[in-house]
């Protein structure tokens, strides 16, 4: 069964009613733990972010990011370990190169590359996660809803 885009069910958004939908792919070892720590420490973070835990940020295929946009995400955050910290040694280097190339491709497809953000967040950087979550939400709010044109 094909997943349906949430866009189809929604009312048209105006600037006032627009709440950004953000999908965050976070690596199990650093970024996800960082976000978890933010929760445990009762730090406030943006409620617009829907986290998907992956084993490594290098696991995040560009097709998954595109699919997120297709199904209704207005922004996608990919977060992993700092360089040198990767549990799988060099997964995050691959992520970095992948996101660079994907941004180039998205920009040429007419999708603002600021809708895709890459961050390195360690398991202890709860504040950084909280800050990034608000920053990115505000960025997407400013960019407005992503309206894909299929025809």
């Amino acid at each position: 069964m094909e997943a349906k885009s949430v866009r189809e069910k929604e009312q048209p958004k105006t600037k006032e009613t627009f709440e950004p939908k953000i999908v965050a792919f976070m690596c199990n070892w650093c970024a996800y733990s960082g976000a978890d720590l933010a929760g445990v420490s009762r730090l406030q973070s943006s409620p617009n972010i829907r986290i998907i835990r992956t084993m490594c940020s290098g696991r995040v295929d560009p097709a998954m990011i595109m699919r997120a946009f297709e199904l209704g995400a207005d922004g996608v955050l990919v977060a992993g370990c700092h360089f040198g910290d990767c549990h799988y040694i060099e997964g995050n280097y691959k992520t970095m190169r992948r996101i660079e190339l994907l941004k180039m491709v998205l920009a040429r497809l007419g999708i603002d590359e600021r809708r895709l953000r890459l961050e390195w967040i360690s398991a202890s950087e709860a504040e950084k996660y909280a800050r990034v979550s608000f920053e990115f939400t505000e960025q997407i709010r400013e960019l407005g809803p992503l309206e894909l044109r299929m025809n």
Binding site: D61, M66, M96, L101, M104, G110, R149, M150
Partner: protein, 343 residues
């Protein structure tokens, strides 16, 4: 018993798929012997009305090549769907848009603007005259098909039973499929599962490639004319952008055997939704950079990344087309494409 009925049709395509059917050489006579060819505008004289007069599901098999560019293409696709038991998307255009699908970087306005106004080959007296679906002439009204904004693939307008990929599908594969079909019709064997890809492998092009692969570390991408590639070494290792890792096998690694990188015409390998995304994934793993600036510098040596990754599959990709707002931002896209063409 009457012969099974076969139809072949072309929509927005170059005609290469028709040639590949004839490339099975004298075996075409066996096909004509076995089947009653009821519709094949490229080779035989049949008219639209002939198909229209047929009963529902009267044609056993239709090989449909070409993308859906105009309302006429769509109308024919719907008509042939109605009249056929089995509809096969034949070739890359019907399967995933192929080269006609690259027009999805623009829309109707942009394409017309160039083709009928800016292009240096337009005659001065007709410059800026655009085709209209309806035109009044003294004798009455003329109607021509509507040109769509977006090229669609066959499965985006009608239900498709099977796919034969390739630009064009290799003739030995076509013959293989036709033989299998004749065998099924003769013996009543079960059909392959619906949606199956016929006449192709289930691995990637790299699997068929005879070249030697080493661990890849790419410092710079080059175009095929800039170096003389070594005959037995992986082209990607040598910095030539080869689509092999993200392309379905089945062609017999034709291009790479001729020292030319794979262009990706057999489409995405099994279980891959978006060929371009897979190529992005594969490429970024082998770029030799340890920081974003360095990575960007190397990646910027790729000439026309979008047109390379999605050369055959843009119309069937996740986004299907460039996200240009209707009419707006056209100049920006054109300028970017032109700059890349020069590069």
């Amino acid at each position: 018993m009457s012969k099974p009925k076969l139809a072949l049709y072309w929509a927005a395509s170059c005609g290469g798929c028709e040639i590949t059917v004839l490339d099975i050489e004298e075996k075409i006579l066996d096909v004509a012997e076995f089947f009653d060819i009821v519709f094949w505008p490229c080779a035989m004289d049949f008219k639209y009305e002939d198909v229209q007069a047929m009963g529902e599901k009267e044609i056993d098999i239709t090989l449909f090549n070409g993308a859906i560019r105009t309302s006429e293409n769509e109308q024919m696709a719907k008509l042939l769907r109605e009249k056929s038991k089995i509809l096969i998307a034949f070739g890359s255009c019907a399967h995933e848009g192929c080269i006609p699908g690259l027009a999805n970087f623009f829309d109707r306005k942009g394409i017309f603007e160039y083709a009928y106004k800016q292009s240096p080959t337009v005659e001065e007296e007709t410059r800026g005259t655009y085709p209209q679906p309806h035109t009044r002439v003294p004798e009455g009204e003329i109607e021509i098909p509507e040109f769509y904004d977006t090229v669609k693939t066959l499965d985006q307008v009608v239900e498709v039973d099977y796919i034969i990929p390739g630009c064009p599908p290799q003739s030995f594969q076509v013959w293989g499929v036709l033989q299998a079909v004749m065998d099924i019709l003769k013996t009543g064997k079960p059909l392959p599962p619906k949606g199956a890809v016929l006449g192709a492998g289930d691995k990637t092009c790299c699997d068929e490639c005879p070249r030697e692969r080493k661990e890849k570390k790419i410092k710079e991408f080059v175009r095929p004319h800039q170096i003389i590639p070594k005959e037995d070494e992986c082209l990607l290792d040598q910095g030539i952008l080869c689509m092999g890792p993200a392309t379905r096998s089945g062609c017999g690694a034709l291009c790479v055997k001729a020292n030319i990188p794979c262009r990706g015409c057999y489409g995405a390998p099994p279980n891959v939704r978006d060929q371009g995304a897979k190529m992005i994934s594969a490429l970024s793993s082998v770029v030799d950079a340890s920081n974003p600036e360095e990575a960007r510098k190397i990646l910027e040596t790729i000439a026309d990344p979008l047109g390379t990754f999605y050369r055959f599959s843009l119309a069937h990709s996740t986004f299907r087309r460039a996200q240009i707002p209707n009419g707006k931002a056209q100049e920006k896209v054109v300028a970017q494409q032109e700059a890349e063409a020069i590069h």
